[in-house]
Symmetry: C2
Subunit: 334 residues, 2 copies
């Protein structure tokens, strides 16, 4: 017997996913993950030098679920120079009963971008101060845009202070985001961003710290999502030492990747100081259903969410697309 | 810009690959791997209990090559009971310059089966006695067939002695292989196979030894290819202790998977006793090009090849398909 998987293009994926409220699904994914209900093996990785790029394979399954998901996502940072997007990728949805490929989501990295932006939204909801006056952004790429757009349900703040390594890109970012209704100023240095922003999103592939502990004011929340390999780093380890609350999307993953891995290796923080995002969500929601509120204890605490990207996010978003597809097809998905 | 990968179906893959002489390519892959010219990260793995199955992600790249390959292959051993093949899978070929997906080979596990059978052919060429009178086979599935068929360039022997856990399957195997011109007898036990066969191929997903050291006669070559996870085992560790030559397709992989991992863990062999297949090929070929001959020192030596399957085989076979495709298209593949 020959099995033909469904191949879903990016346009169709966007059609299917736009009406969905994905945030509760991603939150459920994080809480299930923190309860140990999700099998997430270590991230597979290939790194390239010339030109520089990295490919990540994230995969896993919610125990007992009908499907498992393998996601392949690449970042090749010189691509824009030849007219291609930096990020690309696809998600493969398989039957957990037969191992047979069910659906190929040719999302070209879009679902990864989306679930990453949603994780940022979730981190901001539970960690940032409610009265954000300025959103600081380091980087000018796709996540510098999507993270901000996905803060809309969390804060009415529309003021952005952006820093980019390439001034022209910062200006383009300013123009694009102003067209979406934001008030955008550019900063000369990352420290200038930190001097005014209450919520900072770091979205660069930097391999050396952009911000140091002295830059960070009381009350700041930082969502650090640029660093997802052992080599990348956006925050000086002293920032994590200074922070009151340090949250990882995955504690096991953050031991070897992202900002936390650096701070652990240098002894600036200890493992027992790290909270896992799923636990933070669960704590905040309490037992009476979903009543999101910040878990910070005061407006002066410094909070950090280190997001390296966890396969459970991919599983949740891919499953949501497949469910929506099944509904529109009006027939069983298997 | 939207990038559309080519999607190549199994029928087309078979058309493209049938005229090719793949063995030199696979041998080149193994020798490049043993010379350290291939990046092969640890195998990704998901294991399922109900029903039992495992999914392997094998991936890597030949340094400097234009493409890299990610292969996903599953074995769900209850599938035949519901009319589905046990093995399924696909290979994804990406550009090493941009990370963008170039070609999806929807091979449904066929290329994995083929490159596995070719590795068996290579192992037999360099390790088995030249005068094989009986080919012994444990197992009755696809590899029990393909391994034997791919011995044709290595030996004129057409006598098979087969053992299968399910007698009906052994009878079906006998009938099918007889139709291909083989003389096939069935054996009551694995030990009966070992008592008469000069070359034994073990192709089962067994998790406990089927053969013990006392079963193995001098001069026997064993290609053990069924065991590719830490849990699976077909040979008692004493067999590896007794063997004169123990070859791994990948020494690093065989430390944690396959027959060798068990023998190492129990102290029956030491790491310095293991030869890597790429080195064996290189030694045998010498400096005057390809003149294959067995590396065994006498007709009475016992030789074992433990094949867990290495990503370089997948890279080589996927690249071969893509090159053939490019030729037929008469235009640059990129």
């Amino acid at each position: 017997m020959t099995c033909s998987p469904g191949i879903i293009t990016l346009d169709r994926i966007k059609e299917l996913i736009t009406p969905l409220d994905l945030c509760p699904l991603i939150e459920e994914g994080f809480t299930a993950y923190s309860r140990g209900e999700v099998v997430v093996p270590p991230v597979g990785e290939l790194c390239f030098d010339t030109p520089p790029g990295d490919t990540h394979i994230k995969y896993g399954h919610v125990k007992g679920a009908e499907h498992f998901v393998i996601k392949i996502a690449s970042g090749f940072y010189n691509n824009p120079g030849i007219g291609l997007p930096s990020n690309s990728g696809l998600m493969l949805v398989f039957s957990s009963r037969t191992g047979i490929l069910d659906t190929i989501l040719m999302d070209e990295g879009y679902l990864t971008d989306l679930r990453t932006a949603l994780a940022g939204q979730i981190a901001a909801r539970y960690l940032a101060r409610p009265d954000i006056r300025t959103i600081g952004v380091l980087g000018t790429g796709i996540q510098a845009r999507m993270q901000v757009e996905h803060l809309l349900p969390v804060t009415p703040c529309r003021n952005i202070l952006v820093w980019g390594r390439t001034p022209e890109k910062a200006v383009r970012y300013q123009r694009d985001m102003q067209a979406l209704g934001y008030s955008v100023q550019t900063a000369k240095t990352p420290a200038d961003v930190a001097a005014r922003a209450d919520l900072i999103i770091t979205t660069t592939p930097a391999e050396a710290p952009l911000l140091s502990a002295a830059d960070i004011r009381p009350g700041t929340h930082i969502t650090a999502m640029g660093s997802d390999t052992p080599a990348k780093q956006e925050l000086d380890t002293g920032i994590l030492e200074k922070a009151d609350i340090v949250v990882a999307d995955s504690i096991s993953q953050c031991r070897t990747r992202g900002e936390i891995s650096k701070a652990l290796a240098e002894g600036y923080i200890t493992k027992d100081r790290i909270l896992e995002l799923g636990r933070v969500i669960e704590t905040s929601q309490g037992k009476e259903g979903r009543q999101p509120r910040s878990v910070r204890l005061s407006d002066s605490q410094i909070t950090i969410a280190d997001l390296t990207g966890v396969a459970v996010q991919d599983i949740q978003i891919a499953t949501a697309v497949c469910r929506a597809l099944k509904k529109t097809e009006g027939k069983p998905h298997e």
